[in-house]
């Protein structure tokens, strides 16, 4: 299997800690991903809600690039990129007419026969939960984690279907494998408001308030995510939520790869834990979950 890596725009900016921690985890688990060269933005929500073809062509162009660069599988950590890549692949496989149209648009006739995996899907199905478990050096004992999947990892289930759309468990399986407590909570697949963050912030604030409340109800210490947009909405805007609604949430939002990184022995700086708005370091220190000697384990 020749895995291409598609980080997407966010992982190069607001979600750089997702990129950093993914790379750390991969290096520890000896996973070889190669970043697709000169990839472009997947178009996210604005593209497909503005023009159907644009929404398909942007992701497809990336699949073509990946094919040209010799990859047979593309792994995307960002749930939004993953979803758009999958939708585009699905629609184009379904109809030759669509495929011809998109080939016209990209002015490229490359057939992109590539399987697309989300990072979690990769860990679960290709790499193996047991393998993760056996690589754990610093089990996150006593950390109560609410795994938040949001929309894009599970819907539409006809297209993205590596997990149950109403009660997904793959992230929870990883959380359990690294020694933490996977909480069964009510809002695993509720929406955070997504792309409304900037134009309709009030929507995002309200939806995220409900999410944070649900996590608190399940007495979660933190929320694990695999989507930069979910992360930004829950983490960056938590203070705004508290101000708007008079709440006192202080729930760290961590990328699943950051939690994995901790369990694999990386320290706070290796995983860029300090770059969150809601500080997770205090919680993790209190629970004694940050490996004392930075990089110790990596050098072994």
């Amino acid at each position: 299997m020749n895995y291409g890596y598609f980080p997407g725009c966010s992982l190069h900016s607001t979600a750089r800690e997702f990129n950093i921690s993914t790379k750390a985890v991969c290096s520890s688990l000896k996973i070889n991903f190669t970043e697709v060269e000169d990839w472009i933005c997947c178009g996210a929500t604005p593209a497909h809600t503005t023009n159907h073809d644009l929404g398909l062509a942007l992701p497809y162009s990336n699949l073509q690039l990946a094919a040209q660069q010799g990859f047979d599988t593309l792994v995307a950590p960002c749930a939004a990129c993953y979803n758009r890549l999958k939708v585009s692949d699905f629609e184009i496989r379904k109809s030759d007419e669509k495929k011809n149209r998109i080939h016209e648009i990209t002015e490229d006739k490359t057939e992109a026969d590539i399987s697309i995996l989300h990072l979690i899907e990769f860990f679960k199905n290709d790499f193996g939960i047991e393998e993760i478990k056996s690589a754990v050096k610093n089990p996150l004992v006593g950390l109560r984690v609410a795994s938040y999947y949001g929309c894009l990892l599970v819907r539409p289930n006809e297209i993205v279907n590596f997990d149950d759309e109403e009660n997904p468990t793959s992230m929870d399986e990883i959380v359990s494998a690294i020694g933490a407590d996977a909480l069964d909570w009510s809002h695993k697949t509720e929406c955070c408001g997504a792309a409304h963050a900037i134009p309709k912030t009030e929507i995002v604030l309200q939806l995220c308030k409900k999410l944070l409340q649900a996590a608190e109800n399940s007495s979660a210490d933190c929320i694990a995510v695999a989507c930069p947009l979910c992360h930004a909405n829950l983490d960056m805007r938590q203070n705004q939520i508290n101000k708007t609604f008079g709440t006192k949430f202080n729930t760290p939002i961590l990328y699943i790869t950051q939690l994995m990184g901790l369990a694999l022995g990386y320290g706070a700086n290796d995983l860029s834990l300090q770059s969150h708005f809601v500080d997770p370091i205090k919680l993790l220190t209190r629970k004694n979950l940050i490996p004392q000697l930075e990089k110790m384990n990596r050098e072994n």
Partner: protein
Amino acid sequence: MKRKLETQITLNTLIDSFSNEIKTLSKVNAYECYQCGKCTAGCSVGDFLEETPNQMMRLIQLNLRDEALNSKTPFLCATCNTCTARCPMDIDIAKVMETIRILSEKEKKKNVKEVSKFSKIFLDSIKNHGRLFELGLTARFNIENKTPFKDSELAPSLIFKGKLSLLPQKIKNRKRIKKIFDNSINEKKGVE
């Protein structure tokens, strides 16, 4: 429906072909909808809507094209797909929303200007650089939206935490992205 409908519902409005137009564009037969309201019940942004999703489906069933295209609902839709996932009739309601939104945008109907502006600026950004330039996007949106200080408290820490680069990332093959934009939207000039 909180909004007052402007159309007088008459025989002429009822036999319009809007439902066929939607069928062609989105492959959804609106008459499969039996108005159970499950889409509305689960809608993430339900609190913010004037027309609920099932009412949008009803507007299509009754061929009330203008009313549907003037609705804010498709613009407030967060594209979370919950409606589609749970529809007992397997109707892709999210796709219908997207279709109406595109039609509305094309015909410059009344819509939610912030959402529509955000989309345009977002697409401009990737059209120019190949990748999203988040700082540029936010700044331009705030200026054009006349909310210059929106989220300004977040910016310094974002930059400090290294999460917001001050310069855009540009791809090498800029022609590629330009082609995609030009060819996709060839029936009208660009998205700007």
